[in-house]
Symmetry: C2
Subunit: 332 residues, 2 copies
């Protein structure tokens, strides 16, 4: 790889001028600029992004904190954001937190030490760690503080829509299988579900809480342990993978879906289409979530003040074969 000395030699101008050019630190004539550009091209010189970052006080790197890269919802979000950030010439550093506070704190220090331009903190387990750092941060799902921007699906209305869809399909004894309480998204889904159920006096509702979100090996025993699961005519499961495990368990118990029990999931993962019967679910608008997060981050990096701090995007019921109700949207 060529260095600055070779570029200066090839361009036929002084090292100091080339240095000013790369550092953007003083006058360089247009004629010299042209010569440098030509030399850079001829020598196949890759500008040193690190050195530039030090001079200009910022890198073109965005740090993405992801709870788990193998979780389809989050990896689809990352895939969206990666494409959009790339269009703005930003590169992604991806940090797997495993919903572990210490791992997340380690990653925050790493990202700070690399002087990233911004951080998207997805489902943070340690909001306090982001409060005093001088880098733009956007929270996805779990909030950081009222001063920080939060982006999420409207999980509350999604929970309401799930209840209504089952109720409209004729269910009157409905179970909600809730995800881990530390995830705001799952407690909001529960809250919406309960709120919607209060308006229907003829419906009985129960709630069971799981402590794992999508590791199949932990989900299976937890779901097999749910008492009287065959008593319900409708089950709203907090995510699609857990819903798939519930369907498998009911199938093993000889329960027919949707005739005896109707099932609705959450996320609209690719998985739902492949199941038998295919899974009705609540769609989170991944493309829009990715777009709004990316746009807001670029604006923050550019120093813009943004007054609106909370962005909750609309979810939609995706009707498939695991329920009997008609299509409804969370708007209804």
């Amino acid at each position: 790889m060529a260095n600055i000395r070779e570029i200066a030699k090839r361009a036929g101008i002084g090292i100091a001028t080339v240095s000013r050019y790369f550092n953007d630190s003083g006058y360089v004539s247009e004629e010299s600029r042209e010569k440098i550009r030509k030399a850079v091209e001829e020598l196949d010189y890759t500008p040193n992004a690190l050195a530039r970052a030090i001079f200009k006080k910022n890198t073109k790197i965005i740090g993405l904190m992801i709870p788990n890269i193998t979780n389809p919802f989050f990896n689809q979000m990352v895939s969206e954001m990666e494409k959009l950030f790339r269009k703005q010439n930003y590169t992604i550093i991806l940090c797997n937190t495993d919903d572990d506070k210490e791992k997340e704190q380690f990653h925050i220090e790493t990202l700070r030490s690399y002087r990233v331009a911004g951080i998207v903190a997805m489902r943070t387990m340690t909001p306090e760690s982001y409060r005093n750092i001088d880098i733009p941060v956007i929270a996805f799902e779990n909030q950081i503080s009222p001063e920080h921007i939060t982006v999420a699906s409207d999980n509350y209305k999604g929970g309401m829509a799930a209840f209504k869809h089952l109720y409209d399909g004729g269910c009157r004894k409905i179970l909600h299988i809730q995800g881990p309480e530390v995830f705001i998204a799952t407690t909001e889904r529960l809250r919406g579900f309960i709120e919607a159920s209060k308006k229907k006096k003829d419906a009985l509702v129960d709630v069971v809480k799981l402590e794992t979100d999508f590791h199949i090996k932990s989900l299976e025993p937890a779901i097999e342990n749910i008492k009287n699961i065959t008593d319900y005519d409708g089950i709203f499961v907090f995510n699609d993978i857990s819903a798939a495990v519930v369907m498998k368990h009911l199938h093993d118990l000889g329960v027919r879906i949707p005739e005896q029990t109707q099932i609705i999931g959450f996320d609209n993962s690719f998985l739902g289409e492949l199941l038998l019967p295919s899974l009705t679910t609540i769609d989170q608008p991944i493309k829009q979530l990715g777009k709004i997060t990316t746009d807001l981050m670029i604006r923050l990096i550019n120093g813009e003040e943004i007054d609106q701090k909370e962005y909750y995007l609309k979810t939609t019921v995706i009707k498939r074969s695991s329920t009997l109700g008609k299509i409804a949207t969370s708007k209804e």
Copy 2:
């Protein structure tokens, strides 16, 4: 964060000298070097990985090229490698190539400009782009050159094992649904399948090629277009997601699995366990693949010469309900 001007002021020396120091572009006395190092340290509140990287000419960043982050096989590989690299204090820059040559070349330039310590090129579409760069590179699946290390599952023997498992389960008219030809992994699976079938004169085999690997929306019409798919008593599909789409299609056509048609996939994705019937598949040893790739990379970064260039890891048949054969391993 401090800039070059503040560093010069604090160090009590000229900007040009500091610039020469950072650019490695001319004489800087040891005394000045020491002053600059001290100033950089004093002005930073977090250890500056970028500055350190420039001093030491290397970063603690590994670039991972991934064909698609939403593909379960590859995101599980990345998750494994991320954990192992983190133990060695390396951070990951993740680059989604979408199997697109131009995107991949863009990422290579970005990684070079950030002076990453090493690159893992998963399923590269542009091996020639890695040949002349002065950074350690390991190829995963698609080879870069005979001089570069390649890590992969033994897809050839995996293809043989898939044929044998169907044959041993009684199948005599067997279809292989092959993945895109540009992926070495899928052509190796085909080669193994054909080779194993040659030894069994009473078995008829056919091959159909798909041009997409796991985007369900493209897989569905492609699979629906396969002629006479109900004529086969055994189908070996090149990956689990495509196998799931095949199963769904056969189910819609009223074909009973495994009684009428047995199905075997490849990858051992979490998906297989959730299907009805659960999917027999060929396991790729993701943990070992991740471990060996990480270990080799650390050794290359440390300047070690490694004589063995090819690492093909053993696959295993995971017997579930979509086939009738007994458990076999690729060793047999």
